[in-house]
Assembly symmetry: C2
Homo-oligomer: 347 residues x 2
């Protein structure tokens, strides 16, 4: 793992080591905003409150007794690839490794909400982690806050999972023990770790982590509006060759990587070595798995011309969405899905 | 006027010169976010659009032909008295003079919305000024934005005025020529100057100037939520003696100032010279005028003890609201209505 921040731990996968569709827990990126909370399973509870007919507190065993569900889901940090932004954007300087794909086992959020008899007026479901701390820079709330995020009612009642296992093992402390949300198709900030409280609201939740942080500007008829980040944008990344790698001129070189999107399938991955003038279609590997990335590879004829060569990949999904060539400045340091330039050296 | 920022102009009244209930335009504080826009009245239009049955564009003469209304209203900048905050808060370092009271003449926003046949789904009414520019610090939208702010439907259909005159004279460029909003009882950021566009939305407007800027944190069941600033908090200010003034020990000294609130009347103003251990009731002058400040004065016996003496005023309104002794940190650099310490010298 590459350390981007020591305390709290912010670690990313060395993406060039991508080998299989499932990312082992010890290689899965860690994004922390505060120190890992110490949790005692015997006293830990999941509270469900707000616009519900019956406030509930679940013990871990009570949750385990609910219907169990296993899904595969790719989770990407909303700031993944930030190091590619010029000029530099504020935030953790992730390269390619703040993304991973795992198998998650747990209970559906909708079953937990049903047990508490979710009210009809509930519009927004707030997920709150046990992790907490103070924010340093304004605009900031006074005192400590919990990391928390909301999902709209429709998403909450669809496929959001409250997971207690990752790749068949109990969650580790770094990945949210004993319980974390997994919000399929959404950037990682929504998949709250160390989940301890669910609050149903009859209004939109304007918490810190969906306004000042993890928000972006969208232009509509009324001007620029601050909008919570949500769905992952279609994206592919080259795992190998890694940036800086030396390739023999004129040789056949395997380019490989992964591609993902939200609520659709990856239908095409292409490679350019001339800034988009021409593209070469890669081969999609295995079968499409919902909410999961797709591995791909291409046997590519390296150029005869020696020196620096920049390769980029571009994915397209079944809704026709594709990666842009440039970063949209309204997104600030988030949703970085433009065709990333990987500089290699032809020798 | 005291210059707090030269360009764009941010000027405050020398509050110790407070003489009458009406603040002359040339003494009325100026809060600018961008350069004053150059407006040609022959081409200027007020557009009314969004969730309306009939999009409208009004010329200045067409607006003048609508029913005319004159109101008095006190407008305070949400950051007024920021210089009293320890530690220092970001923003223009206003002292006491970013507040004024004027007579405003114009048309009611509700008449303009009725002319455009406001839709039943309209929840939030965005008021946009012609002033525009780029924001320097993240989180910020890319490119230029207009200064804009919304008022909820209920307020828009109540008493919001679109004013073309101030104290019986046409608006000056600094005060929003040719048209500005006056949102009675609300902090000044809502009273959009150089008004050029009104957009009715079927949702809440999360614009820059009601989230990142001019927002504050309120705690509710779900945690800290970013909330647009709106209503002015009950407040009084001492105009004289001014800070640093020398008072003869044991003499009778007149303390005078103004007090205001939102949607209520000022019922009491008191002075303390011992940090709140005892209070002396001031006399409210004149009659209560809706949405307007109330002048007050007190003949006060200065202490015999020589040296520094700190006096503070505290207002209470007809809804029983009163000024706190300390600033609430969740408000950041806004809504500074705690009992301000004015240091004078007894000689």
């Amino acid at each position: 793992m590459i350390i981007r921040e020591k305390e709290p731990a912010n670690l990313e996968m060395t993406f060039s080591s991508l080998e299989s569709r499932i990312t082992p827990a010890e290689q899965f990126y860690v994004r922390s905003h505060f120190a890992v909370p110490e949790i005692d399973l015997t006293t830990w509870r999941l509270a469900v409150e707000g616009v519900v007919a019956r406030r509930r507190e679940f013990t871990f065993d009570e949750l385990r007794a609910l219907p169990q569900q296993t899904i595969e889901a790719t989770i990407e940090c909303a700031g993944n690839s930030r190091v590619f932004l010029v000029p530099k954007a504020k935030g953790v300087q992730w390269e390619l490794g703040a993304v991973g794909n795992a198998e998650w086992t747990g209970v559906l959020l909708r079953d937990v909400l049903a047990a508490a008899e979710l009210g009809e007026d509930a519009r927004d479901i707030v997920l709150e982690g046990a992790d907490r701390g103070a924010i340093a820079e304004p605009p900031r709330p006074a005192g400590e806050i919990h990391f928390a995020r909301s999902v709209p009612r429709e998403k909450a009642l669809d496929d959001v999972l409250l997971a207690y296992s990752m790749n068949g093992e109990p969650l580790t402390p770094a990945h949210g023990f004993p319980l974390r949300a997994v919000v399929p198709g959404w950037y990682g900030m929504a998949s709250i770790k160390w989940l301890q409280r669910i609050v149903a609201l009859d209004r939109e939740f304007n918490g810190y982590y969906q306004t000042v942080d993890y928000g972006c500007w969208q232009r509509d008829e009324a001007g620029a509006v601050l909008t919570p980040l949500s769905e992952m944008q279609v994206k592919s990344q080259i795992a190998r060759p890694a940036g800086g790698e030396r390739i023999r001129g004129g040789s056949t070189c395997k380019i490989s990587g992964a591609a993902w999107t939200c609520a659709a399938e990856i239908t095409r991955v292409e490679i350019t070595a001339n800034d988009g003038k021409s593209w070469h279609a890669a081969k999609l590997l295995g079968e499409a798995v919902p909410a999961s990335w797709r591995l791909w590879e291409l046997d590519w004829d390296a150029p005869q011309t020696l020196g620096k060569c920049t390769i980029r990949s571009r994915a397209t999904d079944s809704l026709g969405r594709s990666q842009p060539m440039e970063h949209d400045a309204n997104r600030g340091g988030y949703m970085i899905n433009f065709c990333l330039p990987i500089d290699i050296e032809v020798v």
